[in-house]
Assembly symmetry: C2
Homo-oligomer: 272 residues x 2
Protein backbone atom coordinates (compact mmCIF):
# COMPACT_ATOMS: atom_id res chain seq x y z
CA UNK A 1 0.00 0.00 0.00
CA UNK A 2 1.22 3.49 -0.85
CA UNK A 3 1.97 6.10 1.80
CA UNK A 4 -0.89 8.26 0.55
CA UNK A 5 -3.35 5.41 1.14
CA UNK A 6 -1.83 4.53 4.51
CA UNK A 7 -2.20 8.12 5.69
CA UNK A 8 -5.94 8.13 4.95
CA UNK A 9 -6.45 4.76 6.63
CA UNK A 10 -4.33 5.69 9.67
CA UNK A 11 -6.00 9.08 10.13
CA UNK A 12 -9.39 7.39 10.09
CA UNK A 13 -8.17 4.76 12.58
CA UNK A 14 -6.88 7.33 15.06
CA UNK A 15 -9.95 9.57 14.90
CA UNK A 16 -12.33 6.64 15.35
CA UNK A 17 -10.21 5.03 18.09
CA UNK A 18 -8.93 7.71 20.47
CA UNK A 19 -6.72 6.49 23.32
CA UNK A 20 -6.43 3.02 21.81
CA UNK A 21 -2.83 1.84 22.04
CA UNK A 22 -1.21 0.02 19.09
CA UNK A 23 2.43 -0.89 18.65
CA UNK A 24 4.41 -0.16 15.52
CA UNK A 25 4.65 -3.82 14.36
CA UNK A 26 0.83 -3.96 14.36
CA UNK A 27 0.67 -1.19 11.77
CA UNK A 28 3.74 -2.44 9.87
CA UNK A 29 2.05 -5.81 9.42
CA UNK A 30 -1.39 -4.40 8.66
CA UNK A 31 -0.04 -2.19 5.87
CA UNK A 32 2.85 -4.47 4.89
CA UNK A 33 5.29 -1.59 5.32
CA UNK A 34 8.70 -1.13 6.93
CA UNK A 35 8.72 0.12 10.52
CA UNK A 36 10.76 3.13 9.45
CA UNK A 37 8.10 4.10 6.89
CA UNK A 38 5.37 3.66 9.50
CA UNK A 39 7.28 5.90 11.85
CA UNK A 40 7.46 8.61 9.18
CA UNK A 41 3.69 8.27 8.57
CA UNK A 42 3.05 8.80 12.27
CA UNK A 43 5.25 11.92 12.29
CA UNK A 44 3.25 13.43 9.43
CA UNK A 45 -0.07 12.67 11.15
CA UNK A 46 1.12 13.93 14.52
CA UNK A 47 2.25 17.24 12.99
CA UNK A 48 -1.01 17.76 11.13
CA UNK A 49 -3.19 16.90 14.14
CA UNK A 50 -1.31 19.48 16.20
CA UNK A 51 -1.55 22.04 13.41
CA UNK A 52 -5.32 21.51 13.22
CA UNK A 53 -5.60 21.79 17.00
CA UNK A 54 -7.38 18.46 17.44
CA UNK A 55 -4.82 16.59 19.53
CA UNK A 56 -1.56 14.67 19.12
CA UNK A 57 -0.10 11.19 18.79
CA UNK A 58 1.45 9.96 22.02
CA UNK A 59 4.47 7.81 21.19
CA UNK A 60 6.16 5.39 23.55
CA UNK A 61 9.60 4.13 22.55
CA UNK A 62 11.02 0.67 23.22
CA UNK A 63 9.83 -2.90 22.80
CA UNK A 64 6.52 -2.35 24.62
CA UNK A 65 6.19 0.97 22.81
CA UNK A 66 3.62 2.16 20.37
CA UNK A 67 1.28 4.98 19.66
CA UNK A 68 -2.14 6.33 20.58
CA UNK A 69 -4.16 9.37 19.60
CA UNK A 70 -4.93 11.82 22.41
CA UNK A 71 -7.73 14.12 21.21
CA UNK A 72 -7.40 17.66 22.50
CA UNK A 73 -8.98 20.93 21.61
CA UNK A 74 -6.40 23.69 21.15
CA UNK A 75 -6.90 26.78 23.33
CA UNK A 76 -7.64 28.86 20.22
CA UNK A 77 -10.37 26.46 19.07
CA UNK A 78 -11.79 26.33 22.61
CA UNK A 79 -11.92 30.09 23.11
CA UNK A 80 -13.51 30.80 19.74
CA UNK A 81 -16.11 28.06 20.33
CA UNK A 82 -17.03 29.45 23.77
CA UNK A 83 -17.30 33.01 22.46
CA UNK A 84 -19.62 31.89 19.65
CA UNK A 85 -21.71 29.97 22.19
CA UNK A 86 -22.11 33.06 24.40
CA UNK A 87 -23.29 35.15 21.44
CA UNK A 88 -25.72 32.44 20.34
CA UNK A 89 -27.21 32.09 23.84
CA UNK A 90 -27.78 35.85 24.18
CA UNK A 91 -30.60 35.69 21.59
CA UNK A 92 -33.66 37.17 23.41
CA UNK A 93 -35.94 34.61 21.67
CA UNK A 94 -34.43 32.07 24.09
CA UNK A 95 -36.06 33.62 27.16
CA UNK A 96 -38.78 31.37 28.58
CA UNK A 97 -41.37 32.17 31.26
CA UNK A 98 -39.73 32.13 34.70
CA UNK A 99 -36.42 33.42 33.37
CA UNK A 100 -35.29 30.06 32.01
CA UNK A 101 -33.27 29.81 28.81
CA UNK A 102 -34.22 27.61 25.84
CA UNK A 103 -31.10 25.61 24.90
CA UNK A 104 -32.62 22.40 23.47
CA UNK A 105 -31.83 23.40 19.89
CA UNK A 106 -28.11 23.69 20.66
CA UNK A 107 -28.16 20.50 22.70
CA UNK A 108 -29.80 18.81 19.70
CA UNK A 109 -26.89 19.50 17.32
CA UNK A 110 -24.50 16.52 17.22
CA UNK A 111 -21.65 18.68 15.92
CA UNK A 112 -22.00 21.25 18.74
CA UNK A 113 -22.23 18.45 21.30
CA UNK A 114 -19.08 16.86 19.90
CA UNK A 115 -17.18 20.15 20.08
CA UNK A 116 -18.22 20.61 23.72
CA UNK A 117 -17.18 17.03 24.45
CA UNK A 118 -13.75 17.61 22.94
CA UNK A 119 -13.17 20.74 25.04
CA UNK A 120 -14.04 19.00 28.32
CA UNK A 121 -12.10 15.87 27.37
CA UNK A 122 -8.98 18.00 26.77
CA UNK A 123 -9.14 19.28 30.33
CA UNK A 124 -9.87 15.83 31.83
CA UNK A 125 -7.23 14.18 29.67
CA UNK A 126 -4.69 13.48 32.44
CA UNK A 127 -7.10 12.53 35.24
CA UNK A 128 -7.23 8.78 34.56
CA UNK A 129 -11.01 8.89 34.22
CA UNK A 130 -12.65 5.42 34.19
CA UNK A 131 -16.27 6.50 33.67
CA UNK A 132 -18.27 9.61 32.71
CA UNK A 133 -21.36 10.03 34.89
CA UNK A 134 -24.39 12.16 34.06
CA UNK A 135 -28.03 12.41 35.10
CA UNK A 136 -30.99 11.91 32.78
CA UNK A 137 -31.94 13.60 30.45
CA UNK A 138 -30.20 16.61 28.97
CA UNK A 139 -26.69 15.80 30.11
CA UNK A 140 -26.69 12.47 28.27
CA UNK A 141 -25.45 13.56 24.83
CA UNK A 142 -22.73 15.73 26.42
CA UNK A 143 -21.59 12.81 28.57
CA UNK A 144 -21.29 10.53 25.52
CA UNK A 145 -19.33 13.16 23.65
CA UNK A 146 -16.82 13.54 26.49
CA UNK A 147 -16.65 9.76 26.94
CA UNK A 148 -16.03 9.12 23.25
CA UNK A 149 -12.85 11.24 23.35
CA UNK A 150 -11.68 9.70 26.64
CA UNK A 151 -12.54 6.19 25.38
CA UNK A 152 -14.46 5.29 28.54
CA UNK A 153 -18.07 4.23 29.18
CA UNK A 154 -20.99 6.40 30.32
CA UNK A 155 -23.15 5.69 33.35
CA UNK A 156 -26.52 7.42 33.66
CA UNK A 157 -28.07 8.32 37.00
CA UNK A 158 -31.87 8.22 36.85
CA UNK A 159 -34.62 9.87 38.84
CA UNK A 160 -36.67 6.68 38.83
CA UNK A 161 -35.55 3.03 38.93
CA UNK A 162 -36.20 0.92 35.82
CA UNK A 163 -37.02 -2.77 35.82
CA UNK A 164 -34.55 -3.34 32.96
CA UNK A 165 -31.56 -2.35 35.08
CA UNK A 166 -31.76 -4.76 38.00
CA UNK A 167 -31.13 -3.85 41.63
CA UNK A 168 -30.11 -0.28 42.36
CA UNK A 169 -28.70 2.05 44.98
CA UNK A 170 -30.80 5.14 45.61
CA UNK A 171 -30.46 8.33 47.66
CA UNK A 172 -32.71 11.25 48.49
CA UNK A 173 -31.46 14.80 48.16
CA UNK A 174 -32.80 18.33 48.35
CA UNK A 175 -33.03 20.14 45.03
CA UNK A 176 -31.44 23.57 45.19
CA UNK A 177 -33.97 25.48 43.13
CA UNK A 178 -37.26 23.85 44.13
CA UNK A 179 -36.18 22.81 47.66
CA UNK A 180 -38.12 19.59 47.09
CA UNK A 181 -36.85 16.21 48.18
CA UNK A 182 -35.90 14.19 45.10
CA UNK A 183 -34.58 10.70 44.46
CA UNK A 184 -31.60 9.50 42.43
CA UNK A 185 -30.90 5.94 41.40
CA UNK A 186 -27.90 4.08 39.99
CA UNK A 187 -28.04 0.39 39.08
CA UNK A 188 -25.69 -1.65 41.26
CA UNK A 189 -23.86 -3.30 38.41
CA UNK A 190 -23.31 -0.13 36.43
CA UNK A 191 -20.27 1.13 38.35
CA UNK A 192 -17.24 -0.67 39.82
CA UNK A 193 -16.18 0.24 43.37
CA UNK A 194 -13.47 2.89 43.52
CA UNK A 195 -13.78 4.15 39.93
CA UNK A 196 -12.35 7.51 38.89
CA UNK A 197 -15.26 9.47 37.49
CA UNK A 198 -16.02 12.84 35.97
CA UNK A 199 -19.53 14.28 36.17
CA UNK A 200 -20.94 16.06 33.13
CA UNK A 201 -24.23 17.97 32.96
CA UNK A 202 -25.85 20.64 30.83
CA UNK A 203 -26.83 23.16 33.48
CA UNK A 204 -26.10 24.09 37.09
CA UNK A 205 -27.82 26.62 39.31
CA UNK A 206 -27.25 26.13 43.04
CA UNK A 207 -25.76 22.71 42.32
CA UNK A 208 -28.26 20.53 44.21
CA UNK A 209 -28.41 17.95 41.43
CA UNK A 210 -24.63 17.69 41.08
CA UNK A 211 -24.38 17.45 44.85
CA UNK A 212 -26.90 14.60 44.76
CA UNK A 213 -24.82 12.74 42.16
CA UNK A 214 -21.68 13.19 44.28
CA UNK A 215 -23.49 11.71 47.32
CA UNK A 216 -24.79 8.78 45.27
CA UNK A 217 -21.31 8.14 43.86
CA UNK A 218 -20.04 8.06 47.45
CA UNK A 219 -22.08 4.89 47.90
CA UNK A 220 -19.88 3.32 45.20
CA UNK A 221 -16.68 4.72 46.74
CA UNK A 222 -16.08 6.54 43.48
CA UNK A 223 -13.45 9.28 43.20
CA UNK A 224 -14.99 12.38 41.65
CA UNK A 225 -12.03 13.76 39.71
CA UNK A 226 -13.83 16.55 37.85
CA UNK A 227 -17.21 18.19 37.32
CA UNK A 228 -18.06 19.88 34.03
CA UNK A 229 -21.22 21.80 33.20
CA UNK A 230 -22.06 23.45 29.91
CA UNK A 231 -23.83 26.45 31.49
CA UNK A 232 -24.01 27.80 35.01
CA UNK A 233 -26.46 30.42 36.24
CA UNK A 234 -26.32 32.64 39.28
CA UNK A 235 -28.90 31.79 41.90
CA UNK A 236 -29.32 34.83 44.07
CA UNK A 237 -31.55 33.15 46.61
CA UNK A 238 -29.40 30.11 47.11
CA UNK A 239 -25.81 29.60 48.07
CA UNK A 240 -23.85 27.35 45.69
CA UNK A 241 -23.38 23.89 47.19
CA UNK A 242 -20.78 22.74 44.65
CA UNK A 243 -17.46 24.59 44.63
CA UNK A 244 -15.07 22.68 42.43
CA UNK A 245 -16.50 22.62 38.90
CA UNK A 246 -15.79 23.82 35.39
CA UNK A 247 -18.36 25.72 33.32
CA UNK A 248 -18.04 26.68 29.67
CA UNK A 249 -20.47 29.61 29.89
CA UNK A 250 -22.14 31.60 32.63
CA UNK A 251 -25.61 33.07 32.30
CA UNK A 252 -24.96 36.18 34.34
CA UNK A 253 -28.21 38.06 33.86
CA UNK A 254 -31.67 37.40 32.42
CA UNK A 255 -33.86 40.50 32.25
CA UNK A 256 -37.33 39.28 31.28
CA UNK A 257 -38.81 42.77 31.16
CA UNK A 258 -36.19 44.20 28.81
CA UNK A 259 -35.79 40.88 26.99
CA UNK A 260 -32.04 40.86 27.49
CA UNK A 261 -29.68 38.05 28.41
CA UNK A 262 -26.05 38.36 29.31
CA UNK A 263 -23.92 35.28 28.78
CA UNK A 264 -20.19 35.35 29.54
CA UNK A 265 -17.45 32.71 29.33
CA UNK A 266 -17.47 30.37 32.35
CA UNK A 267 -14.60 29.63 34.71
CA UNK A 268 -13.22 27.12 32.16
CA UNK A 269 -11.45 29.92 30.28
CA UNK A 270 -9.17 30.54 33.26
CA UNK A 271 -7.32 27.41 32.21
CA UNK A 272 -6.54 28.51 28.65
CA UNK B 1 1.36 22.09 1.83
CA UNK B 2 2.44 18.64 0.74
CA UNK B 3 0.01 16.00 -0.48
CA UNK B 4 0.75 13.82 2.55
CA UNK B 5 -0.26 16.64 4.89
CA UNK B 6 -3.33 17.51 2.85
CA UNK B 7 -4.53 13.90 2.98
CA UNK B 8 -4.42 13.87 6.80
CA UNK B 9 -6.20 17.22 7.05
CA UNK B 10 -8.85 16.29 4.44
CA UNK B 11 -9.54 12.87 5.97
CA UNK B 12 -10.10 14.54 9.34
CA UNK B 13 -12.35 17.16 7.73
CA UNK B 14 -14.57 14.58 6.02
CA UNK B 15 -14.91 12.31 9.07
CA UNK B 16 -15.77 15.23 11.35
CA UNK B 17 -18.12 16.83 8.81
CA UNK B 18 -20.24 14.14 7.14
CA UNK B 19 -22.69 15.36 4.48
CA UNK B 20 -21.18 18.85 4.50
CA UNK B 21 -20.81 20.07 0.91
CA UNK B 22 -17.66 21.92 -0.18
CA UNK B 23 -16.61 22.85 -3.68
CA UNK B 24 -13.19 22.19 -5.13
CA UNK B 25 -12.04 25.85 -5.13
CA UNK B 26 -12.68 25.95 -1.36
CA UNK B 27 -10.14 23.20 -0.80
CA UNK B 28 -7.76 24.48 -3.48
CA UNK B 29 -7.64 27.85 -1.73
CA UNK B 30 -7.44 26.41 1.79
CA UNK B 31 -4.44 24.24 0.91
CA UNK B 32 -3.00 26.56 -1.74
CA UNK B 33 -3.01 23.70 -4.26
CA UNK B 34 -4.03 23.25 -7.90
CA UNK B 35 -7.54 21.98 -8.53
CA UNK B 36 -6.13 18.98 -10.38
CA UNK B 37 -4.04 18.02 -7.34
CA UNK B 38 -7.05 18.40 -5.08
CA UNK B 39 -9.04 16.16 -7.37
CA UNK B 40 -6.37 13.48 -7.12
CA UNK B 41 -6.39 13.80 -3.32
CA UNK B 42 -10.13 13.23 -3.29
CA UNK B 43 -9.75 10.12 -5.48
CA UNK B 44 -7.25 8.62 -3.05
CA UNK B 45 -9.50 9.33 -0.06
CA UNK B 46 -12.64 8.05 -1.82
CA UNK B 47 -10.90 4.76 -2.70
CA UNK B 48 -9.60 4.22 0.82
CA UNK B 49 -12.94 5.06 2.48
CA UNK B 50 -14.64 2.47 0.25
CA UNK B 51 -11.90 -0.07 0.94
CA UNK B 52 -12.35 0.43 4.69
CA UNK B 53 -16.13 0.12 4.33
CA UNK B 54 -16.88 3.44 6.04
CA UNK B 55 -18.54 5.32 3.17
CA UNK B 56 -17.61 7.27 0.06
CA UNK B 57 -17.06 10.77 -1.31
CA UNK B 58 -20.01 11.98 -3.36
CA UNK B 59 -18.70 14.17 -6.18
CA UNK B 60 -20.77 16.58 -8.22
CA UNK B 61 -19.22 17.89 -11.45
CA UNK B 62 -19.68 21.36 -12.93
CA UNK B 63 -19.50 24.90 -11.64
CA UNK B 64 -21.85 24.29 -8.69
CA UNK B 65 -20.07 21.01 -8.10
CA UNK B 66 -18.09 19.82 -5.16
CA UNK B 67 -17.75 16.98 -2.78
CA UNK B 68 -19.22 15.59 0.42
CA UNK B 69 -18.56 12.54 2.57
CA UNK B 70 -21.43 10.06 2.82
CA UNK B 71 -20.70 7.75 5.78
CA UNK B 72 -21.90 4.20 5.21
CA UNK B 73 -21.24 0.93 6.90
CA UNK B 74 -20.33 -1.80 4.42
CA UNK B 75 -22.53 -4.92 4.52
CA UNK B 76 -19.57 -6.98 5.76
CA UNK B 77 -18.92 -4.60 8.64
CA UNK B 78 -22.65 -4.50 9.45
CA UNK B 79 -23.12 -8.28 9.48
CA UNK B 80 -20.06 -8.97 11.59
CA UNK B 81 -21.11 -6.26 14.08
CA UNK B 82 -24.64 -7.68 14.40
CA UNK B 83 -23.37 -11.24 14.87
CA UNK B 84 -20.99 -10.11 17.62
CA UNK B 85 -23.85 -8.22 19.27
CA UNK B 86 -26.08 -11.34 19.28
CA UNK B 87 -23.35 -13.40 20.93
CA UNK B 88 -22.69 -10.71 23.53
CA UNK B 89 -26.40 -10.40 24.41
CA UNK B 90 -26.79 -14.17 24.89
CA UNK B 91 -24.70 -14.02 28.09
CA UNK B 92 -26.99 -15.54 30.79
CA UNK B 93 -25.70 -13.00 33.35
CA UNK B 94 -27.85 -10.46 31.47
CA UNK B 95 -31.13 -12.04 32.57
CA UNK B 96 -33.00 -9.82 35.03
CA UNK B 97 -36.08 -10.66 37.13
CA UNK B 98 -39.18 -10.64 34.92
CA UNK B 99 -37.31 -11.90 31.87
CA UNK B 100 -35.82 -8.51 31.02
CA UNK B 101 -32.33 -8.21 29.58
CA UNK B 102 -29.57 -6.01 31.01
CA UNK B 103 -28.14 -3.96 28.13
CA UNK B 104 -27.02 -0.77 29.89
CA UNK B 105 -23.35 -1.74 29.70
CA UNK B 106 -23.48 -1.98 25.89
CA UNK B 107 -25.53 1.19 25.64
CA UNK B 108 -22.87 2.88 27.77
CA UNK B 109 -20.01 2.23 25.30
CA UNK B 110 -19.56 5.23 22.99
CA UNK B 111 -17.76 3.10 20.37
CA UNK B 112 -20.59 0.53 20.22
CA UNK B 113 -23.17 3.29 20.04
CA UNK B 114 -21.28 4.93 17.18
CA UNK B 115 -21.11 1.64 15.25
CA UNK B 116 -24.87 1.16 15.66
CA UNK B 117 -25.45 4.73 14.53
CA UNK B 118 -23.36 4.20 11.41
CA UNK B 119 -25.32 1.06 10.46
CA UNK B 120 -28.71 2.76 10.78
CA UNK B 121 -27.48 5.92 9.05
CA UNK B 122 -26.36 3.82 6.05
CA UNK B 123 -29.89 2.51 5.59
CA UNK B 124 -31.51 5.94 6.10
CA UNK B 125 -28.94 7.63 3.86
CA UNK B 126 -31.27 8.35 0.92
CA UNK B 127 -34.42 9.25 2.83
CA UNK B 128 -33.83 13.01 3.10
CA UNK B 129 -34.11 12.87 6.88
CA UNK B 130 -34.38 16.31 8.53
CA UNK B 131 -34.47 15.20 12.17
CA UNK B 132 -33.83 12.10 14.28
CA UNK B 133 -36.50 11.63 16.96
CA UNK B 134 -36.18 9.48 20.08
CA UNK B 135 -37.80 9.19 23.48
CA UNK B 136 -36.01 9.66 26.80
CA UNK B 137 -33.87 7.99 28.13
CA UNK B 138 -32.10 5.01 26.63
CA UNK B 139 -32.63 5.85 22.98
CA UNK B 140 -30.85 9.18 23.32
CA UNK B 141 -27.24 8.13 22.66
CA UNK B 142 -28.33 5.98 19.70
CA UNK B 143 -30.29 8.89 18.24
CA UNK B 144 -27.26 11.19 18.47
CA UNK B 145 -25.05 8.59 16.82
CA UNK B 146 -27.43 8.21 13.87
CA UNK B 147 -27.87 11.99 13.65
CA UNK B 148 -24.14 12.66 13.67
CA UNK B 149 -23.69 10.57 10.50
CA UNK B 150 -26.76 12.09 8.81
CA UNK B 151 -25.68 15.60 9.88
CA UNK B 152 -29.14 16.47 11.25
CA UNK B 153 -30.37 17.49 14.72
CA UNK B 154 -31.96 15.28 17.39
CA UNK B 155 -35.32 15.94 19.01
CA UNK B 156 -36.18 14.20 22.28
CA UNK B 157 -39.73 13.26 23.23
CA UNK B 158 -40.20 13.31 27.00
CA UNK B 159 -42.62 11.64 29.37
CA UNK B 160 -42.97 14.82 31.44
CA UNK B 161 -42.92 18.47 30.34
CA UNK B 162 -40.00 20.59 31.52
CA UNK B 163 -40.16 24.26 32.35
CA UNK B 164 -36.95 24.89 30.40
CA UNK B 165 -38.52 23.92 27.09
CA UNK B 166 -41.46 26.30 26.84
CA UNK B 167 -44.92 25.37 25.57
CA UNK B 168 -45.42 21.79 24.42
CA UNK B 169 -47.74 19.46 22.57
CA UNK B 170 -48.70 16.35 24.51
CA UNK B 171 -50.63 13.14 23.81
CA UNK B 172 -51.79 10.20 25.87
CA UNK B 173 -51.22 6.65 24.66
CA UNK B 174 -51.60 3.11 25.93
CA UNK B 175 -48.34 1.34 26.70
CA UNK B 176 -48.20 -2.09 25.07
CA UNK B 177 -46.58 -4.01 27.89
CA UNK B 178 -48.12 -2.43 30.99
CA UNK B 179 -51.45 -1.39 29.36
CA UNK B 180 -51.23 1.82 31.36
CA UNK B 181 -52.13 5.22 29.96
CA UNK B 182 -48.95 7.25 29.56
CA UNK B 183 -48.12 10.76 28.38
CA UNK B 184 -45.64 12.01 25.81
CA UNK B 185 -44.55 15.58 25.31
CA UNK B 186 -42.69 17.47 22.60
CA UNK B 187 -41.84 21.19 22.92
CA UNK B 188 -43.62 23.22 20.25
CA UNK B 189 -40.51 24.91 18.95
CA UNK B 190 -38.44 21.74 18.72
CA UNK B 191 -39.81 20.49 15.38
CA UNK B 192 -40.76 22.33 12.16
CA UNK B 193 -44.08 21.40 10.50
CA UNK B 194 -43.74 18.77 7.79
CA UNK B 195 -40.26 17.54 8.70
CA UNK B 196 -38.96 14.19 7.43
CA UNK B 197 -38.05 12.21 10.52
CA UNK B 198 -36.66 8.85 11.49
CA UNK B 199 -37.42 7.39 14.90
CA UNK B 200 -34.64 5.61 16.80
CA UNK B 201 -35.01 3.67 20.05
CA UNK B 202 -33.16 1.00 21.99
CA UNK B 203 -35.92 -1.55 22.50
CA UNK B 204 -39.35 -2.50 21.16
CA UNK B 205 -41.79 -5.05 22.47
CA UNK B 206 -45.37 -4.60 21.26
CA UNK B 207 -44.46 -1.16 19.93
CA UNK B 208 -46.74 0.98 22.10
CA UNK B 209 -44.05 3.58 22.76
CA UNK B 210 -43.07 3.88 19.09
CA UNK B 211 -46.75 4.12 18.20
CA UNK B 212 -47.12 6.91 20.73
CA UNK B 213 -44.22 8.82 19.14
CA UNK B 214 -45.79 8.40 15.68
CA UNK B 215 -49.09 9.84 16.96
CA UNK B 216 -47.31 12.75 18.62
CA UNK B 217 -45.35 13.44 15.42
CA UNK B 218 -48.67 13.50 13.57
CA UNK B 219 -49.49 16.66 15.53
CA UNK B 220 -46.48 18.26 13.85
CA UNK B 221 -47.43 16.90 10.40
CA UNK B 222 -44.11 15.11 10.34
CA UNK B 223 -43.38 12.38 7.77
CA UNK B 224 -42.08 9.29 9.54
CA UNK B 225 -39.65 7.94 6.92
CA UNK B 226 -38.10 5.15 8.99
CA UNK B 227 -38.13 3.48 12.39
CA UNK B 228 -35.02 1.81 13.77
CA UNK B 229 -34.71 -0.13 17.02
CA UNK B 230 -31.59 -1.77 18.39
CA UNK B 231 -33.42 -4.80 19.84
CA UNK B 232 -36.90 -6.17 19.43
CA UNK B 233 -38.50 -8.83 21.60
CA UNK B 234 -41.44 -11.10 20.93
CA UNK B 235 -44.47 -10.26 23.02
CA UNK B 236 -46.67 -13.32 23.03
CA UNK B 237 -49.56 -11.67 24.83
CA UNK B 238 -49.74 -8.62 22.66
CA UNK B 239 -50.06 -8.07 18.96
CA UNK B 240 -47.43 -5.80 17.48
CA UNK B 241 -48.84 -2.35 16.79
CA UNK B 242 -45.92 -1.15 14.65
CA UNK B 243 -45.31 -2.96 11.37
CA UNK B 244 -42.75 -1.01 9.41
CA UNK B 245 -39.53 -0.95 11.41
CA UNK B 246 -35.93 -2.12 11.29
CA UNK B 247 -34.31 -4.03 14.16
CA UNK B 248 -30.64 -4.96 14.44
CA UNK B 249 -31.24 -7.91 16.78
CA UNK B 250 -34.21 -9.91 17.95
CA UNK B 251 -34.45 -11.43 21.42
CA UNK B 252 -36.34 -14.54 20.41
CA UNK B 253 -36.38 -16.44 23.66
CA UNK B 254 -35.56 -15.80 27.31
CA UNK B 255 -35.73 -18.93 29.48
CA UNK B 256 -35.37 -17.73 33.07
CA UNK B 257 -35.47 -21.23 34.53
CA UNK B 258 -32.71 -22.63 32.31
CA UNK B 259 -30.88 -19.30 32.26
CA UNK B 260 -30.72 -19.25 28.49
CA UNK B 261 -31.26 -16.42 26.04
CA UNK B 262 -31.53 -16.70 22.31
CA UNK B 263 -30.67 -13.59 20.31
CA UNK B 264 -30.80 -13.64 16.51
CA UNK B 265 -30.16 -10.97 13.88
CA UNK B 266 -33.16 -8.67 13.40
CA UNK B 267 -35.01 -7.91 10.17
CA UNK B 268 -32.30 -5.37 9.27
CA UNK B 269 -30.12 -8.13 7.82
CA UNK B 270 -32.66 -8.74 5.04
CA UNK B 271 -31.33 -5.58 3.43
CA UNK B 272 -27.70 -6.66 3.28
Amino acid sequence: MKRSQRLVSLTNFFIENPRVHRNLPYFAEKYNAAKASMSEDLDIIDNMFQLEGIGYLKRVAGSAGGVMFIPESSDDNGISFINDLCKNLEDPARILPGGYLYMSDLLGEPKTIRDIGRIFASRFSNLDIDVVVTVATKGIPLAYAVASFLNVPVVIVRRDPKVTEGSSVSINYVSGSSRKIQTMVLPKRSLKEGSNVCIVDDFMKAGGTINGIVSLLGEFNANVKAIGVLAEADDEEEERVVEDYLSLVKISDVDIKEKQIQVIPGNFVKYF
